[in-house]
């Protein structure tokens, strides 16, 4: 570990002759560094600190301003979702998934529904498939917008935060239009969806997809070639390809290190193989590349959303199976059969055969896995979430080692954690 200072030449604002951002040279000046006699300082960061993105607590051992060791403490938001899930019917678990990664609730709903359907062998309708893709990609955009906004604030840029949150607000309006809720959407059901989209939804989403790239271009113009932004993020928190795989990283964290692994391409679900989109891959594995990857992912998600609007088929959103899908209230009150199915589903739940199923989906933060083990009843014996931000966060001590304390904030921000999911 070398002691170093970051020097920024303000005269040439971070650009080389070709107009590309330069990697900021890191100068080491051993003589100007005061000798602190090897004394280490221990400071506590969080759990209530705006830069820890929730209730994360970091105990940092410092040598001067340099991080020697980081000891993360998690669990302040532990709610025991996995235990709660073992006492609930499959459809009753869906509201719990809203509250894990609460920055992309719709994608979590989809993840659990896919796992439960894999367990029960249910094939969903074409319209439901496309609507779920819309749900996943809208979630990706809002999650990345929150990431971009909070990270830019952490590093001293306030304007992108306002732009990003404005875009997020527009998606939230669409989510509210669809589900009646902005944050806790609970949009899926086993075998279908909670509700079909209203008539105004498609024009609303189309308007969003047409205007959203403009905001991305503005953010790109303000940040990508900004000398301060590049200086704070380039060469910081580097994970090599091998390290990223060894630490089981997933999502933008893994792709920024140059590994083109995306569940949507690698193990397609919801017909992602039929959409035309690219998986952005980084090169250096630093905070800057993670930013570039996420920004490009927003463009690609926008492309996918445009394609979904073109192909959105008509038809039912739920499978035609009265054992899994609740009959409509009017039918339940007028038809004997429907009433019996209604009663059985509410009282007994949807039964799954004995077995187990694991379905991983590409969430904004990484691969979200849902592992369900069934003993033949309507409640799972074990429900395990593979929490992407928990696993990505476990690489933080490795990434922060040897960097400055202020870089630790940038690295922690680049992991894109959400404590609801880390602690569950």
């Amino acid at each position: 570990m070398s002691k170093r200072t970051v020097e920024l030449e303000l005269a040439t604002p971070g650009l080389n002759a070709r107009g590309q951002p330069t990697r900021v040279p890191l100068a080491v000046d051993e003589q100007r560094e005061p000798d602190l006699g090897g004394e280490h300082l221990l400071i506590n960061l969080g759990p209530q600190h705006p830069a820890t993105h929730g209730v994360l607590r970091l105990v940092v051992e410092l040598d001067g301003e340099q991080v020697v060791r980081v000891i993360p403490h998690v669990g302040y938001l532990h709610s025991g979702f996995e235990k709660l899930g073992e006492y609930r019917h499959y459809n009753q678990i869906i509201p719990l998934t809203d509250r894990t990664d609460y920055l992309s609730p719709m994608a979590n709903n989809v993840g659990l529904a896919l796992a439960a359907e894999a367990l029960m062998g249910i094939e969903i309708t074409p319209r439901c498939t496309v609507l779920r893709v819309i749900a996943c990609e809208m979630s990706r955009i809002i999650s990345h917008m929150v990431w971009l906004g909070t990270t830019s604030i952490d590093l001293g840029a306030f304007t992108p935060f306002l732009w990003a949150f404005q875009e997020r607000e527009r998606i939230y309006n669409l989510q509210e239009m669809w589900t009646g809720a902005r944050l806790t959407t609970s949009v899926t059901r086993v075998g279908g969806l909670m509700a079909d989209i209203p008539d105004e939804f498609v024009p609303g989403l189309r308007h969003f997809t047409q205007t959203f790239p403009r905001t991305l271009a503005e953010i790109d113009r303000v940040l990508t070639r900004n000398a301060v932004w590049a200086g704070r993020t380039q060469g910081i928190g580097v994970m090599t390809k091998a390290e990223a795989i060894n630490y089981s990283l997933s999502g933008p964290m893994l792709r920024a290190s140059g590994v083109p692994y995306d569940v949507r391409k690698d193990k397609p679900y919801l017909g992602y193989e039929t959409y035309d989109f690219e998986v952005p891959v980084g090169e250096h594995g630093d905070v800057y590349d993670r930013y570039l990857v996420r920004l490009e992912e927003c463009h690609q998600s926008n492309r996918i959303l445009q394609q979904t609007l073109e192909r959105l088929p008509d038809g039912p959103i739920n499978v035609d199976d009265p054992r899994t899908i609740l009959p409509s209230k009017s039918r339940a009150m007028s038809d004997m059969e429907a009433m019996i199915f209604h009663f059985k589903q509410v009282m007994e739940g949807v039964k799954a055969p004995v077995g187990e199923a694991y379905v991983g989906i590409e969430n904004p933060k990484g691969e979200l896995g849902n592992y369900l083990v069934s003993d033949g009843t309507a409640k799972p014996v074990r429900w395990r979430i593979r929490p992407p931000s928990f696993i990505n966060l476990s690489a933080l001590p490795k990434m922060a080692e040897g960097h400055l304390l202020s870089d630790l904030i940038a690295i922690n921000a680049s992991v894109d954690i959400v404590m609801g999911e880390v602690d569950r």
């Binding site: 221990l42 105990v59 669990g75 060894n246 089981s248 592992y371 696993i391």
Partner: protein, 190 residues
């Protein structure tokens, strides 16, 4: 071995006695022999127990685009331990800590096997086990009492404080309390 009306060591009687002796376990429990219905009941009760815990590993090959799922069944009467895989995959570090925290399965050779989601002094057991009640083992009153009595200073583990140069400059009384791991007292306790 004799029965009055058939004489000594009658073949059928001996066979019957031997058969019964083989079926019954001749251990005195509450002053009586264990009979077959008891054995049957015990077997049925044992069948109702949840199946033994399994540690499931999900492996994914990025090159071959293939999954591998490895299951290790643990003997409930055994030591509930498996070897750690942290030396192979660093990503398993926190995952193994979580399994230890939630199920009480120890991982031999893990570099830092501590509780991760629950706090270090958590004493109620292992929450995700089936015999752990949903509400927790302690009453709400006991949980509140423990939370109020918790010593905020104790949140720094000894390991963390010992690497701090300032440890020796802490008040002697506080150092002593940290060493004992004692809980702090609030002013209104006295």
């Amino acid at each position: 071995m004799g029965v009055a009306n058939v004489g000594h060591t009658h073949r059928e009687v001996v066979a019957a006695v031997r058969a019964q002796a083989e079926r019954h376990l001749h251990v005195m429990v509450y002053g009586e022999m264990i009979q077959q219905p008891q054995v049957d009941l015990a077997a049925r009760l044992a069948g109702l127990l949840p199946p033994p815990l399994e540690v499931v590993y999900f492996l994914r090959s990025l090159e071959r685009h293939a999954d591998l799922r490895v299951k290790v069944e643990l003997d409930p009467a055994g030591e509930m331990a498996v070897d750690s895989v942290v030396s192979l995959w660093a990503g398993a570090n926190w995952l193994e800590r979580e399994v230890y925290d939630m199920f009480g399965i120890t991982f031999r050779g893990h570099p830092d096997l501590r509780r991760i989601l629950m706090w270090e002094t958590y004493a109620e057991g292992f929450p995700l086990r089936k015999d752990f009640p949903l509400r927790g083992r302690f009453s709400r009153a006991e949980q509140v009492r423990q939370a109020l009595n918790a010593n905020p200073e104790a949140h720094y583990s000894m390991e963390e404080l010992s690497i701090a140069a300032a440890f020796n400059e802490l008040p002697a009384e506080m150092r002593e309390r940290l060493r004992r791991g004692e809980r702090g007292k609030l002013p209104f306790d006295e």
